[in-house]
């Protein structure tokens, strides 16, 4: 029973991935504009060399053959080469993914920890002034246009108070070799670990806080309502009547059950997180996936877009798949 359902799930995952490849392949080809002409720019190009370039890029073949090639290569985990840089898309994707990943990871860390604490605190003081303030704050966070929020924070923290840098991942004067791609880790391997690390943190803190705003607000709201639900259950009363302290009841008995809906919300947030990341990267000139894809769309760089969209889509789906499993692990009732 369990085997089959997992099998079914994998099947539908594969089917969705195939649809995704279809969408990503044909969507970018519907965009008006010729990649070769855009590459060359205003310099003229003889008909001959134009055709030669198209042939090199495989653009002269019928579109269905191109799609066939694309699928064949995908099945071998070959994601093609960028038209513009001629570098394998996979390498570029990895590099950008790590940058976006670092930003998103810290944003999620901030959002989950603060969101849970705020939600639990508000639930424990339900109806009080603090609860109302926190919840009003979270609706404001939830409604925040983050591109504006980012600019306001830059104005206060970077321009007026000069606490944090305005853009980028690390100061240009700091010389860092890329070992893992995670700036915070790479900083430790540089010549001056501590100043480099501090510099990387100073670059990271504002963008990750901006990106964390919306998820933080929804996690806080979700945690509060689910905690209030759980606190009304019989087993919580039982736990209290055993003489357990409030802390124990909250963190041992209530939290695990209250987490269930929160985990689902976090899973649904991953797609939205990437949207936020694109906007945040634009504001803070963070060299991540968002800016990479935007540039790809502008240059009509077909391989970058089709594989980029495919990879991001699959990543989100895979993460959701794992969150499903995590969900079952947290909730033993679903494990049957």
């Amino acid at each position: 029973m369990k085997q089959q359902s997992l099998f079914n799930k994998l099947g539908s995952l594969l089917f969705t991935l195939w649809l995704l490849s279809l969408v990503s392949f044909f969507l970018i080809r519907m965009v008006p504009g010729d990649p070769v002409r855009l590459m060359v720019g205003d310099m003229g190009l003889s008909e001959e060399s134009y055709n030669e370039i198209r042939q090199n890029l495989g653009l002269d073949k019928p579109i269905l053959v191109q799609y066939g090639d694309y699928i064949y290569k995908l099945s071998q985990f070959d994601f093609g080469q960028s038209f513009v840089t001629r570098a394998p898309v996979w390498n570029e994707f990895k590099e950008k993914l790590v940058a976006t990943g670092e930003l998103s990871f810290f944003a999620m860390l901030i959002a989950i920890i603060t969101g849970l604490l705020i939600g639990i605190y508000a639930a424990a003081n339900r109806g009080s002034f603090i609860d109302k303030t926190l919840m009003t704050g979270s609706v404001i966070g939830f409604s925040m246009p983050i591109f504006w929020w980012g600019l306001v924070l830059i104005l206060y923290f970077s321009v007026r108070l000069e606490l944090t840098p305005v853009s980028g991942r690390i100061s240009a004067i700091t010389d860092i070799d890329s070992v893992t791609g995670f700036m915070l880790i790479d900083a430790w391997f540089s010549d001056e670990p501590w100043p480099a690390f501090k510099d990387a943190v100073r670059h990271l803190i504002l963008p990750s806080f901006v990106l964390a705003t919306v998820p933080l607000a929804s996690i806080a709201r979700m945690t509060r309502s689910s905690f209030i639900d759980v606190l009304g259950e019989d087993y919580i009363r039982t736990a209290y009547s055993k003489g357990l302290t409030q802390k124990k009841v909250y963190f041992k008995h209530a939290l695990r059950n209250a987490l269930l809906p929160v985990v689902t919300v976090i899973g649904l947030m991953i797609g939205a997180l990437l949207t936020g990341a694109i906007l945040t990267e634009t504001i803070f000139s963070w060299p991540g996936l968002g800016r990479w894809l935007l540039a790809g769309v502008e240059a009509r760089d077909f391989p970058v877009i089709q594989s980029g969209i495919f990879l991001i889509g699959s990543l989100v789906m895979l993460l959701n798949f794992f969150i499903d499993i995590l969900y079952k692990w947290i909730n033993p009732r679903l494990r049957v």
């Binding site: 969507l27 409604s143 591109f147 929020w149 949207t275 894809l293 889509g313 699959s314």
Partner: protein, 295 residues
């Protein structure tokens, strides 16, 4: 038990408008409601009362601060931008764009997404599977990326922006309608009406009547999300194009002047935040009213 509850709600023809009386709402929600109505009125009638036109350029009044700052004047209550256009006028016209886009997005999402969701759950089987996979894909892509591609295909501008924004709000609408209708069609009273041979149109009408609460709330969410998305597109330079005044586009212009002219940054953002916030809170309020257990 569930039959009793559903027959009750079946008879409940109380209009949603009756929730929006001051007595029912309490003062906080009333304030939000009034603020929102004000914004709506400004969007509808504001352009009739503005002195300037939104693209009117005053060459000798560039970057004038709001009236309470030194150097500000009542001629330009909220100041002027880098080209010398009156900020207040542009905000008023921007309200029209944002609210209009929100409304259109809701209408498109509801008519197409709602219908798809309804068919998906009412017919079930393969149709349902297909629609669900389709929404899976839409949901697995970062929405702004999808919007960017759609806008690039259709060409930048407000209309492509509206289409993109409506497509973005589609999956959530499809899913919500599907789930609500699914719950409803399994209820005993529907089975009972089927067993006495009620027509499809009758059953569909009954289901829709009882699902309108959650659907209305989803529409409110769609509205506020559409406003956020269209301004994000405008901010990236892909939505409304320059001479047109739209809050997101205004923010994109303000980006280069945050140090010298912060008022250009504050007001458009505050407008977006206020409208979205009011709508989200009113949606919350309505949800609590319709389903008190969630409070």
């Amino acid at each position: 038990m569930s039959t009793v509850a559903s027959t009750d709600s079946n008879l409940n023809t109380k209009s949603f408008l009756s929730y929006f009386t001051f007595k029912e709402m309490g003062w906080i929600t009333s304030v939000l409601f009034v603020v929102f109505v004000l914004f709506a009125l400004v969007a509808l009638f504001g352009p009739l009362f503005t002195v300037y036109s939104p693209s009117q350029v005053f060459n000798d009044h560039i970057l004038i601060p709001p009236f309470w700052h030194a150097g500000g004047s009542w001629a330009f209550p909220l100041g002027t931008d880098d080209l010398g256009r009156d900020l207040l006028t542009r905000l008023v016209y921007g309200a029209r764009v944002s609210m209009g886009v929100g409304l259109l997005a809701v209408m498109i999402a509801l008519s197409i997404g709602g219908t798809l969701g309804f068919i998906s759950s009412y017919v079930g089987g393969r149709v349902d599977q297909f629609v669900m996979r389709f929404t899976d894909i839409l949901m697995s892509l970062p929405s702004i990326l999808l919007a960017i591609i759609i806008v690039t295909i259709l060409g930048s501008g407000l209309l492509p922006g509206i289409i993109a924004v409506s497509i973005l709000s589609m999956p959530a609408m499809i899913r919500l309608v599907r789930v609500t209708v699914w719950d409803e069609k399994e209820k005993l009273y529907i089975m009972a009406s089927k067993s006495i041979g009620a027509s499809h149109s009758n059953i569909v009408k009954n289901i829709l009547m009882n699902c309108r609460g959650p659907i209305l709330i989803q529409c409110m969410l769609t509205f506020s999300e559409a406003i956020l998305n269209i301004s994000a597109l405008g901010f990236l330079g892909l939505g409304a194009q320059p001479p047109q005044s739209e809050w997101g586009t205004m923010l994109a212009d303000a980006k280069d002047y945050i140090e010298t002219a912060p008022w250009l940054l504050y007001f458009p953002g505050l407008c977006i935040l206020t409208v979205v916030l009011c709508f989200n809170l009113l949606g919350d309020y309505l949800r609590d009213k319709l389903d008190p257990r969630l409070k």
